[in-house]
Structures are given as structure tokens and as C-alpha cells.
């Protein structure tokens, strides 16, 4: 399925752009997408944490993905 990824902060540097469409197979939920990302871009494995958001909310690993989802990559935050 096709998933739209949006990246901020260091995630944008790792992926090389702010938005990208990816073509994935055997990626059905957030947990599997995280694994896919860490394999495709090993630099994600070096981060302190990696979260994914859909619908402007953090989502757990079991959250099921559908082709229409826009997934936002949230590297460790550092506001304040």
C-alpha cells in the first residue's frame, strides 16, 4: 500500500525531505511501519525515541494503517 510520510526535525534530515510517499508491503500497523523505517533508514535506530502520529495523535504500535493515512514521524521532541 501507499503511505504518505511527513517528517519533522532530525527525521526530515534522515529521510531527506519533509514529505514522501512510500510503497510498502507487509506493513499493516504503526509497529511494522517503525520497523520498516528503521531498516530503510538505519539512522532512526540511533535516536533516543521514535514515535509516529496519525490524525494529529501519537499512535501505539497496534494502530492499524490504511492507505489513506498520513503518518507523521516524531523524533525526540525538544521544545520549551
Amino acid at each position: 500500500m501507499t503511505i504518505k510520510l511527513v517528517a519533522y526535525g532530525i527525521a526530515k534530515d534522515i529521510i531527506g525531505k519533509h514529505q514522501v510517499e512510500i510503497q510498502v508491503e507487509a506493513v499493516n500497523n504503526i509497529g511494522e511501519l517503525k520497523e520498516w523505517l528503521c531498516q530503510k533508514y538505519p539512522d532512526f535506530q540511533k535516536l533516543r525515541s521514535l514515535s509516529l502520529a496519525v490524525n494529529e495523535e501519537y499512535q501505539e504500535d497496534v494502530f492499524a494503517l490504511t492507505a489513506k493515512d498520513e503518518v507523521v514521524i516524531i523524533p525526540p521532541v525538544s521544545g520549551g
Binding site: 519533522y8 526535525g9 495523535e57 523524533p75 521532541v77 525538544s78 521544545g79 520549551g80
Partner: protein, 138 residues
């Protein structure tokens, strides 16, 4: 009463204090976070804050709502700056009023602590010889 904002221009601390002033308030506590000149001994030239704005607003609102529930806050104002900041500029202002003074301190500390953990805003420190996304790596 909540006042949650993200700005790419200088923050107005007094506006946050004014928003949270309340006739029943026993105290009004404010946290102001400014941008530091040195980090681990290295001189920072400037900083850039980037946010995933709609979600950042949502997460800041959640934090204010939790505080409202837990400490019966009368009003909360959270303003966060994004874009390029010079040293000494204000990055965040959190103001809160509560009927009892102690609660205002607890609520304010809770909000800045939680904001730094959950709100999708990222800080990049720019040095003379490079740049770093703060707290990205262990």
C-alpha cells in the same frame, strides 16, 4: 479558560499574565524559558524551533486540560515560539492561575515538564562549526 498559541514572532509574556489574571486567583505563576548562550560549553549562535503545529497545539491543550482537572486552574496560557531565535529570546511562556497558590506552582511545573516530553516541537542549536537537533540522540 485556555489560551494556547504558537508564534513565529517574539512572545508577549505580559499578555500571558494578563490572560490568566483572575478575580478568584490566589496566585499566578509564570514560567519563562529563554534560549541559552552555551550548551555543554559550546557557544550557540542562534536557534531554530520547528513545530508540527496542529498537533503541537493539540498536545499543549491536552496538558492544560490535565492541569485544569488536577489543580482546578482558573486560566492557563501557553505560548511557544517557533522560527529563528537569537540568544536570550523567549522560547516559551506558561502562565497559570489557581485559587490556591501552591497549586499554581505545581501546575506550572507539571506543564513545562510535560511540554518538554510530549509536544512536537524541535529545537536546533546552531554553532559556529555545525548544528544539532537537541536531545535527538541518547
Amino acid at each position: 479558560m485556555l489560551d494556547i498559541q504558537i508564534h513565529d514572532s517574539p512572545l508577549d509574556t505580559q499578555a500571558c499574565i494578563d490572560f490568566t489574571s483572575h478575580p478568584n486567583a490566589g496566585g499566578n505563576t509564570i514560567f519563562v524559558g529563554t534560549v541559552r548562550e552555551f550548551t555543554k560549553g559550546k557557544k550557540v549562535i542562534r536557534l531554530e524551533f520547528e513545530s508540527y503545529e496542529p498537533m503541537a497545539i493539540k498536545e499543549m491543550t491536552k496538558i492544560a486540560e490535565i492541569a485544569q482537572k488536577k489543580w482546578s486552574t482558573l486560566a492557563v496560557s501557553i505560548h511557544h515560539r517557533v522560527g529563528v531565535l537569537a540568544i536570550g529570546e523567549v522560547a516559551v511562556v506558561i502562565a497559570v492561575s489557581t485559587p490556591h497558590r501552591k497549586a499554581a506552582f505545581e501546575a506550572c511545573e507539571f506543564m513545562i515538564d510535560t511540554l518538554k516530553e510530549t509536544v512536537p516541537i524541535w529545537k536546533k542549536e546552531i554553532f559556529e562549526d555545525g548544528e544539532i537537533w537537541v536531545a535527538a540522540h541518547p
